[in-house]
């Protein structure tokens, strides 16, 4: 796998991890549909 693909995957992984962190602190992001 090329170095560029590795970087893209690591960026995507970091974004998902940060999203999961925010969702965990806010319990999904508030009350609603």
């Amino acid at each position: 796998m090329g170095k560029y693909k590795v970087v893209v995957l690591r960026v995507a992984g970091a974004v998902v991890a940060l999203l999961a962190t925010v969702a965990a602190v806010t319990a999904g992001g508030g009350m609603g549909p």
């Binding site: 560029y4 940060l18 806010t26 508030g30």
Partner: protein, 199 residues
Amino acid sequence: MLLPLLLSVIPAVLVGWALKGRLLGLAQLRLRGLWLIVAGLAAQVVAAVSAGSWPAVANFRPAIIVVAYLLVLAGLARNWRIPGMLIVLLGFAMNFAPILANGGQMPVSRETMEAAGEGGLVANVAEGQPVFGSKDVLLSQEHTRLWMLSDTLIIPPPIRRVVSWGDFVTYAGMAYVIVLAMRRGKAQEQHSEPALAAA
């Protein structure tokens, strides 16, 4: 996940780019103990779905929510050195405080839900009962401890969500984490290969 994406991640990436930051910086973030945060999130999902679906589990719902938040706290604590993460921890504390003060669930009032146009979700929910699909419990303002920190803020249509001040602090904190990481990516770009710098 929609609200964190709209109010935190997407604006932060746009601001990061405007400040000439690079997504490469996100790839260099080293989040530790991520399994604790994911486990906490999974436990919250179980607690949220249990109300009305799994009566046996619903009996333990407040305890599950508290344990879930303790798992998330353990995960956040392992990352407190990441620049900006202390703001996320502040948002966590602002959410966890009313949950602890009200027996393990986040209070939301019928009036707030109706004002948000979501009164139908609590039409058949009695005072003190859990709200399906959330960590919330239906409580009137006079029966809510730390009311100001509970779910009182309304995001208007088309989003239509009831959130807390702690949620907003968390969104801002995570946005700050992302912008700072992207700025560090810019600094490191000068020492990286062209292919990486383009990221």
